[in-house]
């Protein structure tokens, strides 16, 4: 099919567009990297790469051109964000395939090619979607290569029968790149991260996302169960801005948000009734955490609660750990109300048997952090030990549990327990797979080109 220059598909499939988009992505990565002088990696990822458009302040260049300068630069410019550039690259690549890559196979060989690609794709899909195989693949690169060797060979041979020897390799390379672009979408939209804190000889089934808060009403249901009613941060902020109380029937009380504070620090004001163990805290608002240090935003909120029309009181709720949750008695039920980091509860428990913080002899330099855990999953009946150390995560339930840190009793400088970083990324396997597909494509293309060159050399000799 020959298309005119004015046809949109010709324009979309043009190599010029590819080059422009790649140049734009390079600029975006450059300014995104510079932005990390002032912002944390997560802020930059969200602002620059997982957005459709981004406002790039000229101030990002200050650290490069005038290092040490304290004067903030004004103005900036809008630029396509990572999602938009990736999307356009995807469209560009698909359009190019629609236009330039034709099926050259014929008859039974073509059907054999389709069959091989289908079989290879099915086997690969099974290896990444079946939880245990998927975990094994991500744990060990050699095992991954061995497991994917057969399906990749099937796909490679299948492409050869469908597109012919000259184009099969390039088709595979493009398929790998498309997979990688799609993978970033999957990660950007579906990935979550959180922390799990476990005291030594303690247990936890709770993952906390320290980037988002929620008001939680929790009550004990007996038989080892709890009821949680949670109001997400976005709704709390909106209720505060619009001065509209939260009156959802799911929530046992009416909640009026008097003041939302995105990041706070504690200021003790007094003892409650002269009891120095019951400190009355107040919170001082401070600038949002930039993410470049260990700090995270610690939101607090002042709420007034109503039981029907009856005013129950004004309360300070805070993610700052020193503020106790409040107890509410409502219709004979005891509710614990708190502002906490967003929680996800998993149907299994990790118990911490031992946490080790090894140091190099005679120094305080950390040599290794590790956690010996016991995994207990009542639903599946699984009960086993697990060992986590730096760069050796536990992979379970499609999640990766990394050794992230530890918490201490500061007055004693004594380690109390472990902090695990829990990554749940439905697209975690995609970069591995796309790299393998691209590698197979490059190898095929290289071999085919080499053989063609050899044939020509022989013919001319």
């Amino acid at each position: 099919m020959k298309l005119s220059k004015d046809n949109p598909l010709t324009w979309l499939a043009s190599l010029r567009l590819t080059v422009v988009l790649l140049a734009m992505s390079m600029y975006l990565i450059f300014v995104g990297t510079l932005a990390q002088v002032e912002l944390g990696i997560w802020q930059v990822v969200e602002k620059y790469f997982r957005s459709s458009f981004v406002y790039v302040p000229f101030d990002v260049f200050r650290s490069l051109l005038y290092p040490g300068s304290e004067e903030t630069w004004a103005y900036g410019h809008w630029f396509p964000g990572g999602f938009l550039i990736i999307g356009l690259l995807l469209v560009n690549l698909l359009a190019a395939h629609a236009l330039r890559y034709k099926v050259t196979g014929k008859g039974n060989m073509l059907w054999l090619g389709y069959g091989l690609v289908l079989a290879g794709t099915s086997v690969t899909a099974y290896t990444v979607l079946e939880p245990k195989t998927s975990a094994t693949i991500q744990q060990d690169v050699i095992v991954m290569m061995l497991i994917w060797a057969v399906p990749m060979t099937l796909i490679g041979v299948g492409c050869h029968y469908i597109f012919g020897s000259r184009k099969a390799g390039i088709v595979l390379i493009h398929a790998g790149i498309i997979l990688m672009l799609v993978g970033e979408y999957i990660t950007g939209i579906g990935a979550t991260e959180g922390q799990m804190w476990i005291h030594e000889q303690g247990a936890s089934n709770t993952i906390r996302d320290i980037r988002e808060a929620e008001i939680a009403f929790v009550r004990d249901l007996g038989d080892g169960k709890e009821e949680h009613i949670v109001i997400p941060q976005a709704i709390i902020e909106s209720a505060g801005e619009n001065d509209e109380p939260i009156t959802d029937t799911t929530v046992p009380v009416k909640v009026r948000v008097d003041r939302w504070m995105a990041n706070t620090e504690k200021v003790s004001v007094d003892f409650e009734d002269g009891d120095r163990t019951q400190l009355l805290w107040t919170m001082k608002e401070k600038d949002a955490a930039t993410g470049t240090e260990m700090d995270v935003d610690q939101p607090s909120v002042v709420v007034t609660l109503f039981d029907g029309e009856k005013r129950l009181g004004e309360y300070l709720l805070s993610t700052v750990g020193t503020v106790r949750p409040i107890q509410l008695e409502l219709d004979g039920q005891t509710w614990e109300v708190s502002l906490r980091f967003k929680e996800t509860h998993v149907p299994y428990t990790l118990q911490l048997v031992d946490f080790r913080h090894d140091k190099f002899t005679g120094t305080t330099t950390p040599m290794n952090y590790s956690s010996t855990l016991h995994l207990d999953a009542p639903e599946s009946g699984e009960s086993r030990d697990a060992f986590i150390k730096m760069n050796q995560p536990l992979r379970y339930d499609q999640k990766a549990f990394f050794q992230s840190g530890f918490f201490q009793q500061s007055a004693l400088n004594r380690n109390l327990g472990t902090v695990l970083q829990v990554a749940d990324n439905p697209g975690a396997w995609v970069p591995y797979l796309s790299c393998v597909v691209v590698t197979v494509g490059l190898c095929m293309h290289f071999v085919v080109s080499l053989l063609r060159y050899e044939r020509r050399a022989n013919a001319s000799a």
């Binding site: 949109p8 249901l221 929530v251 750990g321 009542p378």
Partner: protein
Amino acid sequence: MKRLMFILIAPLFVLGCGEEPTIERYEVSKPVGYDWPDTALREAEVEVDGLSWVWEVPPGWIDAPEVPDRLLADYRFKGSTESLPGRMTVSKIDGDAGGVNANVFRWLQQIYITNVTGPGPKDKISEPMNIGVGEATFIELHGQYQGEHMPTRIAAAIVQIPAEGGGVYQTWFFKLAGDDATLEANRTGMAQMVLTFRPKGVPRPVLPGLETIDEGGGEVPEQATDES
């Protein structure tokens, strides 16, 4: 053509959008508790300066995986929540170790009570009590809430072993840390440990209600505590 471009790109914006946040209600199971070994009442022995000392460790208390250098013993036991197990430590310093008050102030700081002039109204410090090997002072301190993983209470005993020529030869510290409910549930266990503390070979003290290793059962009477 520009319009077509827009139509092609528009769906990409949709991909970047998230879900509308909603108020949620759900039920969850509490975590499966730590798998505490079912240990019986047992006698522990530790050698200090060539002399062996013993005490009784209550049922259900386990040895910590690692005992820090500064401690002679470190035990863990089930707390009232899975976020904070109970902990009992034993340590020793030669001499009087600054006396009772200095150690009370030190422990108060560990539970975040600072810049104070003395124990608070809820805190208790007993009169010294003769337990055979020396005099024991029982102490209970209340601290500030610092989050679900931090202890808010300390129950401790300071045992001063007299020197032959007068004064204090050694000071032993038995310290239990946890939250309110954990401390209440394990106070008698700590008392049993302190009351059975003696050099190896010295007969076990006969105290009414003290559990025995052979028979088990029985209760330790409330320890003597005075308002300070």
